[in-house]
């Protein structure tokens, strides 16, 4: 039996780096230290009905095809389209993302990631008002107050609290949990709220008002007896904890970005953190979902200057969220082909956007069956990044971590990067008249 230690978990943005995976005869026997989400991903390597061969839709359903044929079909689809959308990218390594961006530029398409439907509004706010942030290592060693706002790590990032915020002992937090205070702000009494010291139940859609209440009190003003469903005394006592801590953290989730107000909620929350720095050291980190959605924004910014929703149809990068982002492009019927890499928009986009995806030529690189593989015309299965392929991913605090390969992919499967390089080569051949 092979024992792999310090394996990086390719599931959520916490990107845990202490997994011990036991592999025997090509099967994962155990994934020690992993949470339920990470364990499910490692154990899924044992699935018997995994797709190995590319599948193309014909009149009688899907039939198998060769990788060469699949690559040529995708290349022709992208070259023939006036405005193709290249979407996904959050669950693959940075090296594959880089080739994908080159491909988008080559075919004059729009490239966008899951960020546009998770923390895109956070990026917009950060561009407006800045980003007072730190690394999770600093949080572990220094933070004595952690606020989770619109975020439920017990479900979405199960080891976040045990590794960084609620429980661990740190350099300046020697007693662990006893040295730390946790506040949860949410519309439901979540499982995370259950282990917090203080819970504020905000009424739905009123997060902006609650941030304003904190800022008003902080800056010497007065507020009504109740704001956003929360009594003034509870707001004031939570604010006192924020002002008097030594090192405060605001971890915010999609509860803020997906609710009314969207980027303005984050804009205001960042401004609260800035205001708190008049009293103490305070910082924030967005609770990024997929393990490398942060990496895609980094790579796209290096190559195009913008973090998501980049339109190359005019030959140069244009960025205008609301116009160059996937949900609008699909629901307005503005793209004429879709190429998905490592994502499931057919499950996670509103129905109106998926209706257009189902009508136009489409292809997907995806190791497992999903609603997107079901709707797309062509599916190329790939080796799984972070388990069968090494590569770089960025943690939610923008720290790059090298993911390790721990087992071989089934024969005949290529990595996302290799498939994208084949498609890019074929696109250039077609454009050169081959």
């Amino acid at each position: 039996m092979e024992i792999h230690t310090d394996v990086i978990c390719p599931f959520c943005g916490t990107l845990c780096d202490d997994i011990e995976v036991h592999v025997e005869n090509g099967r994962v026997m155990e994934a020690l230290n992993a949470c339920k989400l990470g364990n499910a991903k490692f154990m899924s390597m044992n699935k018997k009905n995994r797709h190995i061969v590319p599948m193309v839709r014909g009149e009688d359903g899907f039939t198998e095809t060769t990788i060469e044929d699949a690559v040529e079909r995708v290349a022709r689809m992208l070259v023939d389209a006036k405005k193709p959308l290249l979407y996904g990218w959050a669950t693959t390594e940075c090296e594959a993302q880089s080739v994908g961006i080159e491909l988008a530029e080559e075919v004059g398409g729009v490239i966008d990631s899951c960020a546009s439907v998770c923390h895109g509004p956070s990026v917009l706010a950060i561009q407006d008002v800045g980003f007072p942030s730190v690394t999770l290592g600093e949080v572990k060693n220094r933070a004595d107050l952690d606020i989770y706002w619109g975020s439920n790590p017990m479900h979405a990032h199960p080891r976040h609290m045990s590794r960084y915020s609620r429980y661990p002992r740190g350099y300046f937090r020697e007693r662990g949990q006893q040295d730390r205070t946790v506040i949860v702000i949410d519309v439901r009494r979540t499982d995370t709220a259950g282990i917090a010291d203080k819970f504020l139940q905000v009424s739905p859609g009123d997060d902006y008002e609650l941030v304003n209440a904190f800022r008003t009190l902080l800056n010497g003003g007065d507020i009504p007896d109740e704001v956003a469903g929360i009594a003034k005394k509870d707001i004031a006592s939570a604010l006192e904890l924020m002002k008097t801590c030594q090192f405060g953290m605001l971890f915010f989730g999609v509860g803020l970005t997906m609710s009314p107000g969207k980027h303005r909620n984050i804009d205001n929350a960042i401004s609260l953190v800035v205001d708190l720095n008049k009293y103490t050291k305070f910082n924030l980190i967005p609770m990024r979902g997929h393990y490398n959605v942060t990496g895609f924004s980094e790579v796209l910014t290096w190559q195009s200057g913008f973090p998501f929703g980049v339109d190359y149809t005019r030959g140069y990068p244009q960025y205008n969220p609301g116009e160059t982002t996937s949900v609008e492009l699909l629901s307005r019927g503005e793209v004429d082909a879709v190429f998905v890499v490592g994502s499931d928009p057919a499950a996670n986009f509103p129905k109106k956007a998926v209706e257009h995806l189902a009508k136009i030529p489409s292809a997907v690189i995806e190791p497992h069956e999903t609603p997107t593989t079901y709707l797309c015309d062509l599916n190329i299965p790939s080796a799984i990044a972070g388990i069968e392929v090494e590569g770089t991913a960025y943690r939610m605090d923008n720290v790059p971590i090298r993911m390790r390969k721990i087992m071989d992919a089934p024969a005949g499967l290529y990595s996302d990067r290799e498939i994208l390089e084949m498609i890019l080569l074929k696109v250039r051949e077609i454009k050169n008249g081959a």
Binding site: A40, K47, L124, K262, Y374
Partner: protein, 127 residues
């Protein structure tokens, strides 16, 4: 009953991401979590089919008693194809649809069937 719909990640939904071809996916995602008091008001029992409607459409899902209550007049459906039958593509010009805080209504639909995702996709998109 008029409610506010929240969609999002649950640990069960996250655990079946690599198993969307199994019945576990429908079991984890085609559900609606209710505050226990709201279930009494609606005379809904655990496992009953309910119809959830919004301006974008309607969907049939299975009622589940929320373990993260109280959240009166708020229902929760895990992110996925069932939830997105009733989310709007309007983004307020920032790229992000409102996946949370959606005005919706819910009613008991005991005799209706909760569709699997291939059935749901066939019905919605003809594929």
């Amino acid at each position: 009953m008029n409610v506010t719909l929240i969609t999002g990640r649950t640990i069960k939904q996250g655990m079946v991401i690599e198993h969307k071809d199994s019945t576990m996916y429908t079991d984890a995602n085609a559900i609606c979590e209710f505050d226990p008091d709201d279930m009494k008001k609606l005379k809904v029992s655990e496992g009953d089919t309910v119809e959830v409607s919004s301006e974008a459409g309607a969907v049939f899902v299975r009622a589940v008693k929320s373990l993260q209550s109280p959240h009166k007049n708020i229902i929760f459906i895990p992110m996925g194809p069932w939830a997105n039958q009733i989310t709007s593509p309007k983004t307020d010009s920032v790229g992000m649809p409102s996946f949370k805080g959606i005005p919706a209504s819910v009613k008991l639909a005991k005799d209706k069937k909760v569709l699997t995702y291939p059935e749901l996709l066939k019905q919605s998109f003809g594929k």
